[in-house]
Amino acid sequence: MSPELGQFSLILALLLAFVQFTLPIYGAWRGNATLIGLARPVVAGQAVFVVLAFALLTYAFVTQDFSVVYVAQNSNLSLPWYYRFPAVWGAHEGSLLLWILILNVWTVAVATFSRRLPDALMARVLGVLGFISFGFLLFTIATSNPFLRHLPALADGNDLNPILQDPGLIMHPPMLYTGYVGFSVAFAFAIAALLGGELDIAWERWARPWTNEAWAFLTLGISLGSWWAYYVLGWGGWWFWDPVENASFMPWLVGTALIHSQAVTEKRGSFRAWTLLLSIFAFSLSLLGTFLVRSGVLTSVHAFASDPKRGTFILMFLGVVVGGSLIIYALRAPKVAGGKAFKFISRETLLLINNLLFACAAAMVLLGTLYPLIGDALGVGRISVGPPYFGFMFVLLMLPAICLIPLGPFFRWAMADWRATFRALRPALIVAIVAAIAAKLMTHDLPLRGVAGVAASLWVGLGIILYALNRWRTAPRGRRFTPEMLGMILAHFGVSIFLAGVLITEATSIERDLRAAPNEVVEIGGLGFRFQGVQRTQGPNYIADEGTIDVLEGDTVLTTMHPQKRAYSSGSAPQTISAIRPGLFSDLYVALGEPLDNGAWSVRIYVKPFVRWIWLGGLCMMFGGFIAASDRRFRVLPARADERAVVPATSVPQAAT
């Protein structure tokens, strides 16, 4: 009974979404206050039914209702109870429903926290969000219904993919989707501004915190994904430039450009076209990511089951949403470049270069990800594009950005004093160079990456600290650091930590495959690893071989590690569960291989210095984004001339800017 209720809820949500995107936008166009006023209630209604549908699907999982096909495909009787909740989004249909749920959460939040905006603008924003929801609901109901039944009910299900039976599943997809989907707010705002007219751009300030929050969530989602891959997959890697990883990275790159571009548009009135386009592109790349993962067009470890019918539907939806928005852009984009003037040497210039580099980086990732497909289309044979390409090109593109980051906060708007800036940053430059040289001399065989990592992270890190100190000294008390500025400082500091993590770990990681005999000690990276043998253990739905390895520093045992190889009762492929000893400055990582002769086993041991700094850097960036978004200044909006839009939106409102 309740799965049918769930399906019915989805249909009702679909109808309400249809109303949400048609009537308010029409009302805004015609100045009809009643239709405009429909927006918020309809948003609430749709949200209620989406939440209901999601709750019913969760209920089906929790009660292990195997008459629902999706539940039977993604869980079974031996699945521990705490994995029944995240199993809801373990595969295509359920993850789509999660997407829709999160979109509705954002929409309700937008509807609630936008009382200061003109009603017509509000109606358009909610209308655009409604259109997106409509498309996804239609797609779900038509091609990916999670409530399909199999009657009579199956006795037991398959299983949740063992890789997903991990706390990472609880956090990574929801956070990632919150980020992806959150860019729809900036997107909706851009479309609404284009539909409404040039003066709507004055409200850009309202859109900023939403975009910063979406960016922060996406940063968190990507960092979680990377950390999860590191500890679950067993091979010590944290980023593979896999098509689906790239699908989440492209919106992040464009999103980074967007949050900076929005700052310029809001404060100086410049870059309006850039900001509008970046808003459209950020969300378009989110949609493109959804397409790539579910259409089977690219080979990927992450990809959900592919189906040409689904692929075609999403592609058409993508065409309508993005194509439609680009047509609206072509027709309604600001005709005259507005905004205050600025000199060659100014903060605007730096941010313009920033926009360019990040946009090109996103384009490069897109090109590389799609190139196998382009190769097929051009008939040049099946080409693979992997980390050697992406890593190389990305570093090349980001190099100028890294060099310029510390200058950003010091450079003034319109006209910057570059001499004063270089004077202020000289200590950072000197320390960075000296430390890099020292690192090279002191460390045996440090590759260029490591030297660059030391230099880059010190340059960026000290650069931002010097700015913070400078600000503390020169600004009047009580107005030294706004939340927006603090967020910026923290995020840029996060970049320096991230740089240190990536470059140093890539330069100094040690990986060894060994034959480990009982009681033998192997020396790696200054530590001794003593193998103590392997024993059988049992878990809730698996049997495992568990190894014991002591880590010695000299003669003292630092820690003991227990890598496992699990065989699940459902018969899925065996899982390698590595043992990791995390450390702030170094991770130790052991994976169990195969039994060899005489009680020996093959093991893989990694020593990975500074690897945690990668995710710490990501977390810092995320916090920076949230703190910046919390600035009360963003809620001080231009005064509204009237409480209700009684004139057509195309005429000039009397609001003062």
Binding site: A305, A337, G593
Partner: protein
């Protein structure tokens, strides 16, 4: 056909988890060279993994092959060519620079150059207009 792929992959993955394969390296430098080389090669069976990490039986054999070739003095280039002659460019994660990949390797650079030109143009226009220096207070 997708079930077929999954079946084949599972058979290889389930029966032989041999990615951890201690080989008798001459020295640390050779081990590092091997690791770097096998990371640049793609596994054909588990196509989402590189040759270094794949557990497929074919990957184990190809790694042995790479190891033997390294020992007999072949260069990285020669080893890659050996595999490409049998398995196509597909096996290289570092796409070769040839006619079919010119677009891949040079388009990003071209985009940056075009973008730089656009940026330069914008800067020229903007800097010609009269500029009002900002009050440091207003800077944020």
């Amino acid at each position: 056909m997708n079930r077929l792929v999954i079946l084949i992959v599972l058979i290889f993955a389930a029966s032989f988890a041999h990615a951890i394969d201690p080989l008798p390296f001459k020295d640390r430098a050779e081990e590092v060279r091997f690791q770097n080389l096998t990371r640049e090669l793609r596994c054909l069976v588990c196509q989402n993994q590189n040759l270094a990490d794949s557990e497929a039986q074919l990957a184990v054999e190809l790694r042995r092959q790479v190891f033997d070739m390294m020992h007999s003095g072949k260069s990285d280039e020669e080893i890659k060519q050996y595999l490409v002659a049998r398995y196509n460019d597909f096996v290289l994660y570092d796409p070769p620079v040839k006619a079919g990949t010119l677009l891949l390797w040079f388009l990003p650079g071209v985009l940056v150059l075009i973008g730089a030109g656009v940026v330069f143009n914008i800067l020229r226009k903007k800097s010609r207009q009269p500029v009002v220096a900002t009050d440091p207070e207003e800077d944020w």
